[in-house]
Assembly symmetry: C2
Homo-oligomer: 460 residues x 2
Amino acid sequence: MIIVTNRGPARFTRAPDGSFSAQRGAGGIVGVLGPNLSAEKDERIQWVATAMTDDDCAAVAAGKAELPGVDLELLVLEPRVHRLHYDVISNATLWFLHHGLFDLPRRPRFDHRFRDAWDAYVTVNRAFVERIADSASPGDVALVHDYQLSLVPGLLTKTRPDLRIVHFTHTPFCGPNSIRVLPDDVAHDIARSMVQVPCGFHTSRWASAFEASMTAVLGHDHRPTRVFVSPFAADAGDVLETRDSTATRDAIVELENHLGDRKLILRSDRIDPSKNIVRGFLAFDLLLREHPEWRERVVFVAMLNPSRESLPEYQAYRQEVEQAAAMVNERWGRADWTPVELDLRDDFPRAVAGYARYDVLLVNSLKDGLNLVAKEGPIVNQRHGVVCLSPEAGAFDELREAVLAVHPYDVDQNARALHDALSMPSDVRRERATRLRELASARTPAMWLGDLVDAAGPRR
Amino acid sequence: MIIVTNRGPARFTRAPDGSFSAQRGAGGIVGVLGPNLSAEKDERIQWVATAMTDDDCAAVAAGKAELPGVDLELLVLEPRVHRLHYDVISNATLWFLHHGLFDLPRRPRFDHRFRDAWDAYVTVNRAFVERIADSASPGDVALVHDYQLSLVPGLLTKTRPDLRIVHFTHTPFCGPNSIRVLPDDVAHDIARSMVQVPCGFHTSRWASAFEASMTAVLGHDHRPTRVFVSPFAADAGDVLETRDSTATRDAIVELENHLGDRKLILRSDRIDPSKNIVRGFLAFDLLLREHPEWRERVVFVAMLNPSRESLPEYQAYRQEVEQAAAMVNERWGRADWTPVELDLRDDFPRAVAGYARYDVLLVNSLKDGLNLVAKEGPIVNQRHGVVCLSPEAGAFDELREAVLAVHPYDVDQNARALHDALSMPSDVRRERATRLRELASARTPAMWLGDLVDAAGPRR
């Protein structure tokens, strides 16, 4: 089996003595797949990805980009090509497209610079295909992931028709009106590639949008090979193990001491416009205005990881997030109470401590492929906390009966939902939290991986 | 028959002596319906609309809001209610929604202020319903127009079940992903109202989006009563008459003297983000960069009507438009050649002179219900001009075989299309222009009106 992702399962760091150590990536496919792979003893696992940092490249050059249990192949790309593929096309174009983040009167503008970047995108997809073609055994299953690699299915099918290729999308997929935003030939090339292989999504909503988009671009004669839905799963064992680690237990004690008997509203996200962080603060602001009884009795801790800061859009959004938090604190804060606490450290044990302690977990994404926090949080939580979840997050489909829906644009409704969550009687909270934990852990990563392998079909 | 529109067919002006004169509105439904109505002698025509200006209100107060051939009823609204209905809900929310203009990470934010504005929107829709209910005869046909009056169908059906009500949308209609941006109850109220009556659209694309949106909001049990497609028509006789008027003939001579043997690229639009004016200038900039042979040989005249300037979004967009034009002029202009000429006068004869003289007409809208300029231009044009038309304009469906498609986001492709249009051999231009004129005048306003009346069904 070959796993193909843009970002690999680990990041390498060079120590002063020239040796390399590997840090397992946190979150997303990498966090979930990583620990489960080594368990599959009976099969050789290859993983093809991009060397993301200078140290990754150095580890490759030194022959030290190695992980136990995985044949890791990191592609070293020319820095300019890497930047154009990753920043300009993947993050600033396709991520924005699939999450509906464009301010369309102004962006995108497809011009010569875009064309250069698109050439780089094609180059990187080709480089992946060459590497896979070189190292795959006949009939191997190749699991290709996400929008950074949308041309791999088409190119690889041509180069290695013997492989059983599956593409899985972890983001939403844009609908037929949105895909028309792309230049015609670009939309066409992506679509022609994707329809060659079985394509998977976290919910039927993204799967339907994908099918409608393919029809919009290619007409009715080029139907996708197969479209399937398989929601990604939290690794309950792994997050519970993290919760019970010394680092997390220390963080929980620290958080308890800090909060005392105050209630905790928590969010944990990359700083990304799709996460809708600013409106979350506005809803909290409205809660404090409308319900003076919560002043000084609730703290909103936002654990936010700065992300993609080479893009101006992300720099601007981070500023807006910080300003919104400051606005709430200036308006309502007291000497001994900071209503919104921003925590920008990237510290997984600390995040899991937050999961254990929250009274309300807010996930109000504008659009979100799945949102794993909405599953991991309830598994770990120890206070019968309530999850306020946006219906625009893929996980909503599985969790809807035990969460409170928050409308991502309706700040008023969001404030009411926060109040309802904070005020919920403890027996109702307990019942819902129990049900939510069941729903959130109903599936395992192995089941998800099994669905992908099944979609690849039997060896021909 | 009762015509119901937010803006009436005429604007009134008070002279210093206290008398009132009526100016027929230009463009849109008002421009086309106005002259055709008086022709329908056999039927009493009522027209219910809003008094838009202080002078309109004064004319109503003086009993002088009158037009020949029409029973005009102008509603005088409380200024605050009028502003909230028109600016906040109709223009800044529903117009933005249906044209996909929101910068979603930032806008909209539905909060208390939105709720106040929505109450005003309901109030205005109710006021329309009361007025119609008071004055309609049993079994009358009521033709209700556009997003400003989306609650009228539902309310009026309840109040006056005897009326034969039709709703026609002149804008695009947003798809199921976008309508979820509205607060749940607002989307629900709009949908519950619209599905009560036959609903018409300019193209099957907006009609399908409407049906999918209704299903997304109401589920499968509340299907629209009837959905029909009837593209609005240019009034060929009226625009040709304008072309042959003294005012227009003078404007044509002036334009000819000004341009000499230079080619003319023309656009004629309200200054609205949906019109995509900035990217049009960027495409022209790219044309001049890539094709030095056009420098000094082409002028881009942009006839732009400032619009909705009480909204900050429109003020900002106007600035961006002016800056983009200035940028092109600074980069390429010479002492005796200004590449981009902005003409902000609202002067219909002058616009028609532009239609007569253009070599290329650019209509590159992001989204456009129909775009009547794309039909009126070819009817009037005297130089076998080429129309570069966005597939996102409703008129594209009817005109596609005789226009050049311009992708609204692909500036590169737009520049190539402008070059192709300017370079097209004269025999090809002639053939296409002839065909285009046929297509653009294939339908008449009376046919369109007939479709609406047919949709209303027979007297019960």
